[in-house]
């Protein structure tokens, strides 16, 4: 599903964000990306959805050579992905339903599909009753659920989440991560960058730890802090 070989990223200000990253992720995996701020987690996610281009190396996502994608091919590639951020990135002047529907409308999805798919996504995140509410009428957790609904409304093969619980309290964070787990069980591969130790330790999923732009640990059922190989 995802194959990275010798991937490096140096920004124009000469900051080395990634260096010699090799990584393989199978379809249906649930992966936590952990590590200190500046370790390269967000850059790695950004490379996967072609937010930035790698400086070197090979990046294959679902059989697509992401680095070789031409500018006009990027939108079609992104339609197969769902991306979630810490700051939700919702449109404040649209209600919940329209924020989710927006993702389908801008890709000119058939009209008859929009209502059905938005309804399904809102049902999955438990916000059907709040479809008409504006983002400022929702709690942080609910806003993140809207962002998740928008990310999954297009049935993505891969969901990338960059600190999705960064602005949320522990209980809400746990709910959001359970939701991410449900999405994973429905078939989407999920990669989630996080600093949330409690959730990572509790869920015991694959953990990839990064530091200074390199992968320093990759465990099948890992925890936030390294505690030795698991048999």
């Amino acid at each position: 599903m995802i194959h990275l070989k010798g991937v490096g990223k140096i920004f124009s200000n000469n900051v080395v964000a990634l260096s010699e990253v090799d990584l393989d992720i199978k379809r249906g995996d649930f992966v936590f990306l952990v590590g200190p701020s500046g370790a390269g987690k967000s850059t790695l996610l950004s490379i996967l959805y072609r937010g930035v281009k790698p400086t070197r190396g090979t990046v294959m996502v679902n059989g697509v050579d992401v680095k070789a994608l031409r500018h006009h091919e990027v939108p079609a590639f992104r339609r197969k992905l769902g991306v979630i951020f810490q700051d939700f990135k919702l449109l404040p002047d649209r209600n919940v339903y329209n924020n989710v529907a927006f993702a389908l409308e801008v890709i000119e999805a058939p009209q008859k599909d929009v209502a059905r798919r938005v309804g399904k996504a809102l049902d999955l995140v438990g916000l059907t009753q709040k479809a008409k509410a504006r983002p400022n009428q929702l709690s942080g957790g609910e806003q993140q659920r809207v962002a998740i609904a928008r990310a999954i409304v297009n049935d993505p093969i891969l969901v990338l989440a960059d600190e999705p619980t960064g602005n949320l309290d522990p209980d809400t964070s746990r709910d959001i991560m359970e939701l991410m787990s449900d999405i994973n069980e429905l078939g989407s591969t999920v990669i989630c960058a996080t600093h949330n130790k409690a959730v990572v330790d509790e869920m015991r999923r694959r953990v990839i730890e990064m530091e200074h732009g390199r992968i320093i640990r990759d465990e099948r059922r890992g925890v936030y802090s390294f505690e030795g190989p698991i048999a």
């Binding site: 409308e105 890709i107 000119e108």
Partner: protein, 290 residues
């Protein structure tokens, strides 16, 4: 593009226009277009003054006393390249004109024992720059005593107009450039304020054209509206300005024809719309790069 997508783009545009930044942009664009349009109006009239002054440049060809075949002389003058027309002025006509030009001396003119003025030709030329050569050719025609074209006046006028036009063109270019930058930056602010929207559209896989459309449309509408406000100000202010200048300097030949006002209005509106659309496009492109 589907009708529903056009509706979504229109909706996006409308949402953008209803924000505070759009009103700020409208005011700034209107101010820029007003200054630019006014500069165009000044340039138009400076050009007209030059054209009118040049039109007044003509050669006076005085005929020898007793030259009778003025039709042949006139034909010879008209045959010179660069001569637009040659109008015969008889001795009587010359005296009549003098009386009209100097009414205080009418009585003196009436008591003259004989008409001292020679017959002549008023020679209009198409290119004032060639006046020296044409005057030389006219003076060589048989029956022509002498020519007069106000040598020093014509040469001074040409130099002055050259400087005036260069200066006006320079100011016009500077104003157009300055206005384009201000409009570009102002519309750019309205796009930057909605950067989140662009990011979201990119993330969900909207095409560049789809993302760009509402911002280009919004810029165009702001430019069009700003241009219209400025254009109407110029349209209605122009007549007053012409009256004011005429009151102070009635001899200055200003453009008073209606086409000038309508032309300035159309120019400012179209320029505003084009600059606005271009600014929307530029600002959006900044966020669509890889």
């Amino acid at each position: 593009m589907k009708a529903r997508s056009l509706k979504l783009i229109a909706n996006q545009t409308l949402r953008g226009l209803l924000r505070n930044f759009a009103l700020m942009a409208l005011v700034i664009v209107a101010a820029c277009m007003f200054v630019l349009g006014s500069t165009f109006a000044v340039a138009l009239n400076v050009t007209n003054v030059g054209i009118q002054l040049q039109k007044q440049v003509e050669i006076k060809a005085f005929l020898k006393e007793g030259a009778k075949d003025y039709a042949a002389i006139g034909a010879n003058i008209k045959a010179i390249p660069g001569v637009k027309s040659a109008t015969y002025v008889s001795k009587d006509e010359a005296l009549k004109r003098m009386a009209e030009e100097y009414p205080d001396y009418r009585e003196v003119i009436a008591t003259l024992p004989s008409n001292p003025l020679p017959a002549s030709f008023d020679v209009e030329i198409s290119d004032p720059k060639s006046i020296r050569e044409i005057a030389g050719a006219v003076s060589g025609i048989s029956g022509v005593e002498s020519v007069n074209y106000g040598q020093s006046y014509v040469e001074g006028l040409s130099s002055m107009l050259q400087v005036l036009w260069s200066f006006t063109a320079l100011i016009l270019v500077a104003m157009a450039f300055g206005s384009a930058i201000i409009v570009n930056n102002t519309i750019g602010i309205t796009v930057t304020a909605r950067r989140n929207e662009i990011d979201i559209m990119r993330l969900v896989g909207a095409s560049d054209g789809f993302i760009r459309a509402p911002f280009v449309l919004e810029g165009m509408i702001i430019g069009l509206a700003g241009g219209l406000i400025a254009g109407l100000g110029i349209f209605f202010g122009y007549e007053g300005a012409v009256r004011w200048v005429h009151g102070m300097a009635p001899f200055v030949p200003l453009v008073t024809a209606p086409w000038a006002r309508f032309g300035l209005l159309a120019l400012v509106v179209l320029l505003g719309a084009a600059l606005g659309a271009g600014a929307g496009n530029n600002a959006t492109n900044k966020y669509l790069k890889d």
